[in-house]
């Protein structure tokens, strides 16, 4: 239940056996390779595996294929199911066979040519679409486009748009200029058009005057695609023929792609995973160091896995040597968190915050009971809890092969459901007040009332007191952990002065408060005051110890007492347990009430009521589970962790099989 001990390892491997040893390491999955430190023996360049570049090349091709083909592939396993561990299991040997059988390079070449063709078709279709818009605008243009694009020996043509208001005047002027030596075209305009299409054909010698005239009338020239030769009508017909041809070709290419996807995606997925495994393995040695005959790897092994690893490399006899050291203080080993089964589900919560540093306390078992209770209080409805348990148990049964961390998360929710039921039963909340609101559930009332201990709707102040008391409990627990931790590390000043001072001071204050409000007998008054002043004295004396001069020390010591407000704030923060618990039951009550009102509608009332009940409660479960989870987590992270935990460690990540599509099974040695 803590951060496991880690050994620093140095592994010397003869090059002849390198591949097999690496394979063994990857299979054991308990060796994290770290880059060779700067104090490396020789400054030789890092060794590179001879096969690495080939595998990387293949892998990038495989990734391209998957990226392109997967959208066309109908998967019979949903991606959710795959994440949940519904994967085909293959052995590395199968991967090798498949690799030999598949000519990936030629496959990817043919897929690439399909991709290129598809892009060409699509870009031509876009081009056609834009030409068609032009042609539609020019539907009454009577000339062949050839006149515009190439002109004849002496005739030039210009096409473009002009503001509608300017067209008549311009037309008159141009016609006067050209007389019989040219022609002017203006398109018919709709009433709302502001721009009209115009074209003018003229003698080459008049070019300067014509362009000048056009420019003065805010003309903007439109270039016609060179491919257009005939009249708009003829061109349009030709284009629509081309479009049909392209569409059918696109369909054919798509069918071909779909066929390729159908045929190849499954094996390319396997290959992609197989090569990823190989690449990881080969890359491991890149962070090692080599001599002529020997590769040297450095890394971390959990102390518990040493035996397994030694066994795995024994068969290679003299060509391998493993040295183990204890980590030195200047090393920063990764943390390998190991927790016993009862609090394993809560480990995810720790990881979410950040793994503990090596040698620090693993907060998982410490936060587990609190999270359990807090979640129950925040959700606090037995009916909702039962539904949660049912749903997540079903999920766990449906996807049996899911990875451990997912399993942990779902188990966490099952556990939270249990605590929710307990709290819900004690507070008499079953789907809000469903049992009391509808007379058909009347037979359940005695059972519900039998378990009911305290109704927070009627006595919110008692529930609030419980919430705050739990908060005080957890904060003191956190302080005591910090106290223990400081002692463990030999930091006596930190233990007795900082944490100890606060513990004494706060205990005193609490007792004093208890006496003042009459909850505790007045006889403890003396004890309370003594503790308070003792704690305060310790704090004032020590909290300024890093400051210069006696006055500086005293002032900052005195000021440190002001932090008592932050403890007060922390405690008050636990009032959310009451608020969220109340909110859940209140939402439930409201849903039941609305359903009850709807039930009074004649004939169809009961249907509406049923829909409201089911839909409303599902919604309420979703929202409140989210709230309960997030808020009970926050209490751990902000209020509890701030007393003793910083996180910031790196998680142990050994060389192992990291796959996306298939699971690798360990085969018997070939």
């Amino acid at each position: 239940m803590a951060v496991a001990r880690i050994k620093k390892a140095e592994l010397y491997v003869h090059k002849a056996d390198l591949d097999n040893v690496l394979h063994a390491l990857q299979k054991t999955g308990s060796f994290e390779v770290v880059p060779f430190g700067s104090e490396s023996v020789s400054e030789s360049t890092a060794p590179v595996h001879t096969d690495l570049s080939r595998v990387e090349g293949l892998l990038s091709e495989a990734r391209f294929l998957l990226r392109f083909l997967e959208p066309y592939f109908k998967d019979n396993v949903s991606s959710l199911a795959r994440t949940m561990g519904e994967r085909e299991t293959i052995s590395l040997h199968d991967g090798k066979t498949l690799e030999d059988r598949t000519d990936l390079m030629s496959l990817s070449a043919s897929v690439r040519s399909l991709e290129r063709r598809l892009m060409e078709i699509r870009s031509e279709l876009t081009q056609i679409a834009s030409t068609e818009t032009l042609l539609n605008a020019l539907s009454d243009f009577p000339y062949p486009f050839e006149l515009l694009t190439s002109g004849t020996e002496r005739v030039r043509g210009i096409l473009g748009t002009m503001p509608v208001s300017k067209i008549p005047a311009w037309r008159e002027e141009t016609e006067a200029l050209l007389l019989s030596m040219g022609e002017v075209f203006t398109s018919t305009q709709g009433e709302k058009d502001t721009e009209g299409w115009i074209a003018v054909f003229f003698d080459e010698q008049k070019t300067a005057q014509i362009t000048d005239l056009l420019a003065r009338n805010s003309f903007s020239r439109v270039d016609v695609p060179l491919s257009l030769k005939k009249t708009p009508e003829e061109e349009r017909l030709a284009l629509s023929d081309r479009k049909v041809a392209l569409a059918s070709e696109e369909e054919r290419v798509l069918a071909e792609i779909a066929g390729a996807a159908e045929q190849w995606v499954p094996s390319v997925r396997i290959l992609s995973d197989y090569w990823t495994v190989l690449r990881d393995r080969y890359q491991a040695i890149s962070s090692g160091s080599s001599t002529e005959q020997v590769i040297m790897l450095r890394g971390w092994i959990p102390a518990s896995a040493v035996q397994r690893l030694t066994k795995a490399i024994t068969p290679f006899g003299l060509s391998v040597e493993l040295f183990l050291f204890d980590p030195k203080p200047e090393d920063s080993p990764p943390s390998h968190i190991v927790n016993s089964a009862w609090c394993f589900p809560f480990e995810n919560l720790t990881r979410l915050y950040g793994a503990p540093k090596y040698g620090e306390i693993d907060p998982t078992p410490l936060l587990a009971p609190f999270f359990f209770i807090f979640f129950g209080m925040c959700l606090g409805d037995a009916g909702y809890g039962a539904i949660m348990i049912g749903f997540f148990l079903w999920f766990l049964r449906k996807y049996k092969k899911m990875p451990e961390s997912f399993k942990g998360f779902f188990k966490l929710f099952v556990l939270s459901g249990v605590s929710t039921i307990v709290v819900g039963a004690l507070t008499g909340s079953w789907f809000g007040d469903l049992v009391d609101a509808f007379s058909i559930f009347a037979f359940l009332r005695p059972l519900k009332n039998f378990m009911l201990v305290l109704n927070p709707m009627e006595n919110p102040m008692i529930f609030l007191a419980i919430s705050l008391a739990l908060g005080i409990l957890q904060l003191f627990f956190g302080l005591f952990i910090a106290f223990y931790d400081a002692l463990r590390k030999g930091n006596y000043m930190g233990a007795f002065a900082d944490t100890g001072g606060w513990i004494v001071f706060l205990t005193g204050l609490l007792l004093w408060g208890g006496v003042a409000s009459g909850f505790i007998s007045a006889q403890t008054s003396f004890l309370a005051k003594t503790l308070t002043f003792l704690g305060a004295a310790v704090l004032i004396a020590t909290q300024g110890r890093e400051k210069e001069g006696i006055i500086g020390k005293a002032v900052s010591g005195l000021l440190s007492l002001y932090s008592v407000t932050s403890y007060l704030g922390d405690v008050l923060s636990y009032s959310r347990l009451l608020a969220l618990g109340l909110a859940t039951s209140a939402v439930g009550v409201i849903i039941n009430m609305l359903a009850g009102l709807a039930g009074d509608v004649p004939y169809i009332g009961w249907i509406i009521a049923l829909l409201l009940l089911i839909g409303g409660h599902i919604f309420s479960i979703a929202v409140n589970v989210l709230g309960a989870f997030v808020h009970s987590l926050r209490l751990q992270y902000v209020e509890f962790f701030s007393k003793f935990y910083t996180g910031g460690g790196t998680v142990f990540s050994p060389l192992t099989y990291k796959t996306a599509f298939v699971a690798i099974k360990n085969e018997p040695e070939e």
Partner: protein, 121 residues
């Protein structure tokens, strides 16, 4: 979202977080309605001006607290959505951060509930 539609679930979750203030507000509204007996077709309770003002002020904490914290939380959530777009592995932290802001809405809700409870009609 544009690049990876698979993140829909996460984004939805983050979007839902600032929405809870709306639910809290609804909750208090219902408490207030129940208090004066407007629901259920029964006879309404006669409320004098002072009691009415009392109920009004009891509703204010969640009204003000919910309004401002929802806006602030929305900004936090939006930032967190961008965060998971870049680093999906940090989703857990992204869900926790908006919840920090929600604290004040929860406290406001608590105050409104307690105040409403304290008014005798």
């Amino acid at each position: 979202m544009t690049e990876d539609p698979g993140k829909f679930g996460l984004v939805l979750l983050l979007q839902a977080l600032p929405g809870t203030q709306g639910i809290y507000g609804l909750l208090i509204a219902f408490f207030a309605i129940l208090k004066v007996g407007l629901l259920g077709g029964g006879a309404g309770v006669t409320v004098n001006v002072w009691q009415g003002l009392g109920i009004f002020f009891a509703c204010l904490p969640i009204a003000v607290g919910g309004f401002f914290s929802a806006i602030a939380q929305g900004k936090t959530s939006a930032a967190c959505i961008q965060m998971i777009a870049k680093r999906p592995e940090e989703t857990g932290k992204a869900v926790i951060l908006p919840a920090m802001v929600e604290t004040y809405a929860v406290l406001a809700l608590l105050m409104s509930i307690i105040l409403l409870n304290g008014i005798t009609l």
